[in-house]
Subunit: 422 residues, 2 copies
């Protein structure tokens, strides 16, 4: 399959983008693009790389607005966990379908997920056409039998994943150090090492996690993980809020990857990832950006997330020059591509054809003194007109195939799960 | 003129809303609405009051993305002020037209403005159909001649304003205590008192303002304003970040109105309005919400502003129950209506017909466990389908009359002002 995007702005210049298979084959002066099976009119549009949501729990779209404005523990134990316990694979399938739809409509072409019922998740991603790294929640509750079961399950899913489209990456998902035993963490480390897999973990999200870790292991979370040789360049550590100077040095030494999740951290008052300190330690290009699940955000709009990230860092550091527009845009594109070992994150020849076209006629993008500033500080997901992922057109003129059915089914499933009428 | 909105959700129930002239005349069971000249299909839509943007500088849409990520003083003196000095009345007219368009498209039907070239501003609002309180920037720079000029100008504009549509409120706009002399502040106080006018002022936005005030007057800003009997229930004080306990008590005692402006305060790292402390002092219903101008936000989307406000307060207070969804929604509707003495801010019989219809099929609003949560934490301005203000349909199906011309002309003016090519 081939696609020609005509007269589209790339880095401020009008260009033709020619896509063959799943790659950007050529970017040429406008009017010089090769003939293609599909032609997309890029006039008054700008091409940017598809955005990367580096941490979410996609199927939690089903719980959007179900419970807010609560203390973390009460929220989890009285609201979120009871509903999750009732979820079936089919529920997760529809929840993820809804999430993929929302991401496509807001210009996200990759997400990194950790959730229950992996197969439902994978089925939805396969159908949606977007790219994802999927991990099954690995929790053993420090119980040997549960640990064995989880290991077995991950071995099985890993084998199954080989039959899925290449745009789905299998990852391991040890939930956190307070829910997974040392033995299981070591198993994850070895299995990841053996099969060259990335590992997705929540790390240092709350002060309680740090205190509990010191009680249990006599060390802080990052120190503990380092002591069992868990940390590596393939570790994707989400949140990373409560870090000592020594822990920041360890993250740098092991080349650990970090995901900043500002809206969720603010909504749950968990604290703030110390962006400036990580940057000073040389970790800037190791950081990506995520939304978390819709129960704690409550949407998957990466445009909004970029703005919130920058404002959060500026406000907390007292420095209005912190995390400027161009840096946060890199967190949401190039840094993430590198983190997930994808040949993408920029619009250039030879890169994966994960391309988003912004509608420059949207009022939020007028005037266009500085496109990156407009993207970060003014736009929202509705400024996206067209989404191409892996060389296929997933949305054009804001229309996505099957949208109505997905919304109807997801609503049905959500109301059944929560015993409500919407 | 009469409008019938059929089968629309009002407070979770399907209703018909009948509008006659500029008032909501009746809300009845669906199917029972009176016949009207215009019929709007409200199926799969929810009616909410038009949102109130309680502090902005509308024409600064022209400077959206022109300068970001800078220290406040450098940003103002090298970027913003030089461009503002070149602005003409016609520039302000087109900038405000663009702002009104953006506000209509994101469900805002009222804004409170302070800017240069009042007549250009008023002309744009008159044409746009939305409601606004407009003040001319009053700055005398502690210069007696300039002060006289400003007083004269305000007297003239006040007289002119009487000929404008009733939906435009004339207000006085003394910029701040560090730009306006005590004599002029007293003149403003007396002129407002004589003509029963509201007064719009920036107050305690930065620490520098507080320090300078102590140096100049030997008192903190709120104390100083109280000492000259400036504070009254008609004072609309914007920002209110750096407040002592005594100042909070004074604000309560004088029943001063307060506007919270979170995105701008975060972006410029100015600090945070102490919401919980103001609430404890009994000022909760005195607080409204604003976006500030597009040079420091960079959009006018009140949906986004509600979310940022709530996240900001939660993150800074460390309390995830702070400023919950229902409270922030009141800041953006009911509290503001009261502040500006408007018979609106809720959907009810006898209220002004300032009505916004949300498209419940937008993916961000699915599922709909809790509409207010979805509005505050998930929606953005693009979820708005229809906007009615003062009994007139300003947008239906996201179409606004004259949109293309406004965007083209505003771009032209913006690029000319900044000597750029866009």
């Amino acid at each position: 399959m081939s696609i020609l995007i005509k007269n589209v702005l790339v880095g401020g210049k009008e260009r033709d983008i020619y896509i063959e298979g799943n790659l950007i084959e050529a970017i040429s002066e406008a009017g010089n693009g090769k003939e293609a099976e599909f032609v997309v009119n890029g006039k008054d549009k700008a091409a940017i790389p598809g955005l990367f949501n580096a941490h979410t729990h996609a199927a939690m779209t089903l719980l959007r607005g179900y419970a807010d404005d609560m203390q973390l523990q009460a929220w989890l134990s009285t609201k979120i966990w009871p509903v999750e316990a009732r979820m079936t694979e089919d529920d997760v399938y529809w929840g993820t379908k809804l999430a993929c739809l929302e991401m496509i409509k807001s210009g996200t072409t990759f997400f990194n997920d950790m959730y229950w019922h992996w197969r439902g998740n994978a089925r939805a991603v396969t159908e949606s056409g977007i790219r994802a790294a999927l991990s099954a929640v690995f929790i053993d509750g420090f119980d040997g039998a549960r640990a064995k079961e989880q290991m077995k399950r991950n071995e099985t899913l890993y084998e199954e994943s080989k039959k899925l489209p290449e745009r789905i990456i299998f990852m391991l998902g040890p939930h956190a150090i307070y829910t997974v035993s040392e033995e299981s963490l070591c198993w994850v480390r070895d299995f990841a090492d053996k099969h060259d897999l990335l590992v997705h973990i929540h790390l240092s999200e709350t002060e309680e996690e740090v205190e509990d870790c010191i009680k249990r292991y006599g060390m802080r979370p990052v120190e503990f993980l380092d002591s069992i040789r868990f940390l590596s360049p393939g570790t994707i550590a989400c949140h990373c809020i409560h870090l000592s100077r020594k822990e920041i040095e360890l993250l740098k030494k092991r080349d650990v990857k970090i995901v900043h999740i500002p809206a969720s951290n603010m909504k749950l008052a968990s604290g703030r990832m110390p962006y400036e300190a990580l940057k000073r330690a040389g970790l800037q290009s190791n950081i990506a950006l995520g939304t978390d699940g819709c129960a704690s955000n409550n949407n998957l709009d990466m445009f909004e997330e970029m703005k919130i990230a920058s404002l959060f860092q500026k406000a907390f550091s007292g420095n209005p020059t912190s995390l400027p527009a161009n840096e946060i845009f890199e967190l949401a594109t190039r840094n993430a591509a590198e983190m997930f070992r994808l040949n993408s994150g920029i619009i250039a020849e030879g890169k994966l054809a994960d391309v988003v076209l912004l509608d420059l006629k949207k009022v939020e993008l007028v005037p266009n003194h500085n496109l990156i500033s407009n993207i970060v500080y003014s736009a929202n997901g509705s400024c996206v007109d067209t989404v191409i992922c892996d060389g296929k057109i997933l949305m054009e003129g804001r229309k996505v195939e099957g949208e109505e059915e997905i919304k109807e089914k997801a609503k049905e499933v959500a109301y059944k799960l929560t015993n409500s009428n919407g």
